[in-house]
C-alpha cells in the first residue's frame, strides 16, 4: 500500500510539475513575442505623428544660376497641426513641406526657429495630425527604454529600440545619450518611452573622432551613440514658441573673450574661462559685481571653459532667473548672484546664421571648376605680362 501511495504522489508530483512548467514555458517563450508585439503597438500608434520634413532654399551658383537645395529631416506632431523638428533641418529655408506616414504631402509654415535649443515649430494648416503626448520626466532616467521613430533615405521609416545611457545635464537644458543607432534624416525624430509618449527629439549622433594627434584630450568615444534633446527641455521652449512665437533668452550683459593657459610641456593650451572685456552699464553682470578684467570660471556650479559655452548656458536660461556665478580677480575667487535680463534680440548676437545657407561648396565638381578658373586666370595673366613686355 505504501508503494501505491508513493506512486500516487509521484504521479501527482509529475502532473503538478507539468501544470506549473508548461505555462512557465509558454510565458518564457512568449516574453520576446510579447515584447515585439508591444514595440509594434507603440510604433503603430506613434508613427502617424512622425513626418518627414523637406526644407528648400535657393542659393546662387558661381555662374549666376540658381541652385535649389533640400534638407530632409524628421518631425513630430505635438498638436493637431503643429510639428516640432530641429533648427538644423529648416534654418534659413524658403519653403518647407512635410510628408506624413500615410503619404499626405503638405506645405508647412515655419513659425519659429530657435538655434539655441535647436528646435523649430512648423504649422501645417492643411493636415490634421494625431499629436504625441509628452512623457513624464522620470521616464528619461538612465536605463529607461526608448523607441526612436523617424525617417531616412527615401522618406522610409526608421525604428530603433534602446536605452538611455547617459544624461548630459547642463544648466537649464539636458541632452540624453542613447544606445541606439540613428540615421541621416533622423534629426527631429521622436524618442518615445514604452507608453509611446514623447521624451525627446533626436538631434544627431556622435561626430567622428578626431585623429589622435589633433584630439586635444585624447578621450575615448562611445560607439553607436545618439543624442536627443529631452522633453524636459523641449516642453517649456515649445510653450514659449506656441504662445509668443519666440523663446526668451537670458542676457548677462558682458563682452568676453577666450582665456587659456599654456602648459610648459608640449605647449598645450588649456581653456580656463571667459575673460570679461566690458560689462553693460547697469546690466545683470555689473549689478552682480563683475568688472572688466574678471575671469568668469563657473555658472550655476558648472565649470566654464569657453565664452561660447557660457553664452549658450546664459541664452538657455530664462530671463529673470537668478544664477550663481564665480569669477577670478587678481587671483582671488569671487562669487555672486545675478538676475538675468532678456536678450534684446530674438536670437542672441553671437548666433549669426547664414540666411542663404550658401555654404562653400567643396565637392569635386567645385574643385574642378576652381582649377579651370585658376588656369584661365593664369593664362590671362601670362598673356597680359607678355603684352606689357617692351617690344624690341
Amino acid at each position: 500500500m505504501r508503494l501505491v501511495g508513493r506512486r500516487w504522489w509521484t504521479g501527482a508530483a509529475l502532473l503538478l510539475a507539468g501544470t506549473m512548467v508548461l505555462p512557465a514555458m509558454g510565458a518564457a517563450q512568449g516574453t520576446l513575442s510579447a515584447l515585439q508585439t508591444d514595440m509594434d503597438q507603440i510604433a503603430r500608434r506613434a508613427r502617424p505623428a512622425v513626418v518627414t520634413v523637406f526644407a528648400q532654399r535657393t542659393s546662387k551658383k558661381p555662374t549666376g544660376d540658381k541652385r535649389v537645395r533640400t534638407r530632409v529631416g524628421s518631425g513630430v506632431a505635438v498638436e493637431e497641426n503643429g510639428i516640432l523638428t530641429t533648427a538644423s533641418v529648416v534654418l534659413g529655408a524658403e519653403r518647407v513641406m512635410i510628408r506624413t506616414a500615410n503619404g499626405l504631402q503638405a506645405e508647412a509654415e515655419l513659425v519659429v526657429v530657435d538655434p539655441i535649443f535647436n528646435i523649430a515649430l512648423l504649422r501645417v494648416p492643411d493636415v490634421r495630425l494625431p499629436a504625441l503626448r509628452y512623457g513624464p520626466a522620470h521616464d528619461a532616467d538612465v536605463g529607461s527604454w526608448v523607441i526612436s521613430l523617424g525617417t531616412s533615405y527615401g522618406a522610409q521609416p526608421t525604428q530603433t529600440v534602446g536605452n538611455i545611457a547617459y544624461r548630459y545635464k547642463e544648466p537649464h537644458q539636458s541632452l540624453l545619450q542613447l544606445t541606439i543607432n540613428v540615421y541621416p534624416g533622423n534629426s527631429g525624430a521622436a524618442a518615445l518611452n514604452p507608453r509611446g509618449e514623447l521624451i525627446g527629439i533626436v538631434q544627431g549622433e556622435l561626430s567622428p573622432p578626431e585623429p589622435a594627434d589633433q584630439d586635444p584630450d585624447g578621450e575615448r568615444r562611445p560607439g553607436n551613440a545618439s543624442f536627443v534633446l529631452s522633453a524636459e527641455t523641449i516642453r517649456p521652449v515649445y510653450e514659449d514658441l506656441r504662445k509668443t512665437g519666440h523663446v526668451p533668452h537670458g542676457f548677462l550683459g558682458v563682452r568676453t573673450r577666450a582665456a587659456s593657459v599654456t602648459a610648459t610641456e608640449g605647449g598645450k593650451r588649456t581653456p580656463i574661462g571667459a575673460l570679461v572685456e566690458s560689462v553693460v552699464d547697469k546690466g545683470p553682470a555689473q549689478r552682480a559685481g563683475i568688472r572688466p578684467g574678471d575671469l568668469i570660471v563657473a555658472y550655476e556650479r558648472e565649470r566654464v571653459e569657453y565664452p561660447e559655452q557660457l553664452a549658450r548656458w546664459v541664452a538657455a536660461t530664462r530671463p529673470s532667473t537668478t544664477v550663481d556665478l564665480v569669477w577670478a580677480r587678481d587671483e582671488v575667487m569671487h562669487s555672486g548672484r545675478a538676475v538675468l535680463g532678456q536678450s534684446p534680440d530674438p536670437l542672441p548676437e553671437w548666433v549669426t546664421s547664414d540666411p542663404d545657407f550658401d555654404l562653400p561648396d567643396t565637392g569635386p565638381g567645385r574643385i574642378s571648376e576652381l582649377e579651370k578658373e585658376v588656369r584661365r586666370l593664369s593664362d590671362e595673366l601670362t598673356r597680359m605680362k607678355d603684352h606689357d613686355k617692351p617690344q624690341h
Partner: protein
C-alpha cells in the same frame, strides 16, 4: 496476490530501482498476465509522454519540498485505501490531456494575439487626415523626370529628393563630446568657438 506484487513493482521498475531478481520475476509475470502487462505499458506510455515534454526550470526548492511531502505522506497511514491503482494512469493521462489542451490554447492565443490586436488597433489608431483645399486631398504621386525643384504651389516632393542627389542633404547633427559635455553643432549657424571667441551676451 502475484498481480498485487507485480503492480507494487511498477513504479520502482519504471525508475529502474528493482533488483535483477524482481525484474525477472515481473517479466515472467507479464508473460502469464496480460492485464498487468497492459497496465504497465499504459503507465510506461504516460510516463514517456510526460518525460518527452520540454523541461523548464522549476523553483529551486520545488523538488525537495515535493519529495519531503511525499515522504511524509508515505509514513502516514494510507488515506485512500479504497482507491484502485488502475486509476493512476487514467488520472495522469486525463490531467496530461488537460494540461496539453490548456497549453495549446495558450500557444494559439499567443500566435494569434498580435494579428488580433493589430486589427483592433488599426481601427483605434488615428491617421493624419487632409483638411485643406480639395485639390490636395489625394497624396501626390512622385513626379517623373528629372525635376530638381519642388513645384511651386503644389505639395509635391520630386523624385530627386528621394534619390538623395547632390542637392539633397539628410540631416543628422554632429554632436561633440568634450570633458563630459555634449554639444550639438547646429548647421547654418556660425557661432564663434574656442580661442577666438569674443562675444557679447
Amino acid at each position: 496476490m502475484s498481480c498485487k506484487r507485480a503492480r507494487n513493482l511498477f513504479g520502482r521498475t519504471w525508475d529502474d530501482e528493482v533488483t535483477q531478481a524482481e525484474r525477472e520475476w515481473l517479466e515472467g509475470h507479464f508473460v502469464s498476465c496480460a492485464a498487468c502487462r497492459a497496465e504497465y505499458e499504459g503507465l510506461a506510455r504516460t510516463m514517456e509522454l510526460v518525460s518527452s515534454m520540454p523541461r523548464e526550470e522549476s523553483p529551486a526548492d520545488f523538488v525537495e519540498r515535493t519529495v519531503a511531502r511525499a515522504r511524509r505522506a508515505a509514513t502516514e497511514p494510507d488515506r485512500v485505501p479504497g482507491i484502485s491503482h488502475r486509476w493512476i494512469p487514467i488520472t495522469a493521462a486525463a490531467a496530461l490531456l488537460a494540461v496539453l489542451g490548456g497549453s495549446a490554447i495558450q500557444w494559439a492565443g499567443l500566435s494569434t494575439a498580435p494579428e488580433q490586436r493589430s486589427t483592433t488597433q488599426a481601427a483605434a489608431i488615428q491617421q493624419p487626415t487632409w483638411v485643406g483645399p480639395a485639390p490636395g486631398t489625394t497624396p501626390a504621386a512622385p513626379s517623373s523626370g528629372t525635376d530638381e525643384q519642388l513645384v511651386a504651389g503644389a505639395a509635391t516632393v520630386p523624385d530627386s529628393v528621394f534619390n538623395h542627389g547632390d542637392d539633397v542633404e539628410f540631416i543628422l547633427d554632429p554632436v561633440t563630446l568634450r570633458k563630459g559635455r555634449a554639444h550639438t553643432t547646429i548647421r547654418g549657424t556660425d557661432a564663434p568657438r574656442g580661442q577666438q571667441a569674443t562675444i557679447t551676451f
